[in-house]
């Protein structure tokens, strides 16, 4: 098992983390790990001494690739306001690419996901021309979009989508039992815990192959 923090192998994930989106982000995370990349996210650290925006900036700086899901444009039920965190982090990522003098930052690539095609034109039309794809709210579609995009932008040979989906289905069958042994409830699994379980499960699978 290689240890690598190479810039070109890190993918920044910017997406909702509510229960309604859980199936999609779990599928995306699994696809990224299976394709041999490191998944990064603002939720990977919970250091109260660090402002969240500083944490996000650092992770963006370390990641050549970014996946940004802007599908959550609905107003919050309690306060009637939309959440702007995803578009903000997308803006930071695009800004890092544009304003940095570092050649490696110029190589940043991002995938923007929405639930419906062309819907972004109604609320964030400035991103036209970026790589924007729709997942229709379906985890397997989001997974395939992620895998296909990584294959295109990374120029590396990656597992086929059928293989990734097949392994993911097996992982999802094992996951409840694994979490039960770890005394973790499926709805309360944090980002880092899920990533570590997925990583170790895939490692175990590859060693058994």
């Amino acid at each position: 098992m290689k240890t690598s923090k190479a810039y070109a192998r890190q993918v920044f994930l910017n997406c909702p983390f509510d229960d309604g989106y859980r199936a999609i982000y779990e599928a995306i995370i699994f696809a990224v790990i299976h394709c041999g990349f490191v998944i990064r996210c603002a939720r990977e650290r919970d250091d109260s001494g660090e402002t969240r925006i500083a944490k996000i900036v650092e992770i963006i700086r370390d990641s050549q690739f970014g996946i940004h899901d802007i599908s959550r444009v609905e107003c919050d039920e309690t306060n009637g306001l939309p959440r702007f965190n995803m578009p903000l982090e997308l803006g930071l990522f695009l800004g890092a690419k544009s304003f940095s003098d570092q050649p490696k930052q110029k190589k940043k690539r991002c995938l923007i996901l929405d639930s419906e095609p062309y819907r972004y034109q109604k609320f964030i039309s400035d991103i036209a021309g970026q790589d924007i794809r729709s997942h229709g709210g379906k985890a397997m579609t989001a997974m395939k979009q992620t895998r296909d995009w990584l294959a295109t932008v990374s120029n590396r040979r990656l597992p086929g989508p059928v293989e990734t989906e097949s392994l993911y289905n097996e992982f999802q069958k094992d996951l409840p039992d694994i979490l039960a042994k770890l005394a973790l409830r499926p709805t309360e699994v944090q980002f880092v815990e899920y990533v570590k379980v997925a990583m170790e499960w895939l490692k175990d699978r590859q060693q058994s192959a």
């Binding site: 098992m1 290689k2 240890t3 690598s4 923090k5 192998r9 910017n14 997406c15 909702p16 983390f17 509510d18 229960d19 989106y21 790990i33 299976h34 394709c35 041999g36 490191v38 990064r40 603002a42 990977e44 650290r45 959550r72 919050d76 959440r83 965190n85 294959a151 590396r156 040979r157 990656l158 597992p159 086929g160 293989e163 094992d174 409840p176 039992d177 694994i178 039960a180 042994k181 770890l182 005394a183 973790l184 409830r185 709805t187 309360e188 699994v189 944090q190 880092v192 815990e193 990533v195 570590k196 379980v197 990583m199 170790e200 499960w201 895939l202 490692k203 175990d204 590859q206 192959a209």
Partner: protein
């Protein structure tokens, strides 16, 4: 071969009394899972690996009744999970 198709590698080179036989399995040697230090979490890598191996062992055991094996009861390996509600990003 399609672009990005899983790479096949030989797993057995000799078989059947010296006749060269090649068996292939679909294993992509190009996509090793990369390690990253995410810092502390409620469960350690050791605990996670033990849980995965335990589930794997249970899957390979035949069910006494011959039917589908049920999920085992939770067993504490690490600390109890918190009840903090999840917030959207």
């Amino acid at each position: 071969m399609e672009r990005n198709q899983s790479v096949c590698k030989p797993v057995s080179a000799f078989d059947m009394g010296g006749v060269l036989m090649l068996g292939f399995t679909t294993f992509n040697a190009m996509t090793q899972v990369l390690q990253h230090d995410y810092g502390k979490s409620k469960v350690t890598l050791f605990q996670i690996r033990a849980a995965i191996k335990a589930v794997k062992a249970e899957r390979s055991e035949p069910s006494p009744s011959g039917g589908k094996r049920k999920a085992v009861a939770a067993r504490k390996v690490g600390s109890v999970s918190s009840t903090k509600s999840r917030k959207s990003a």
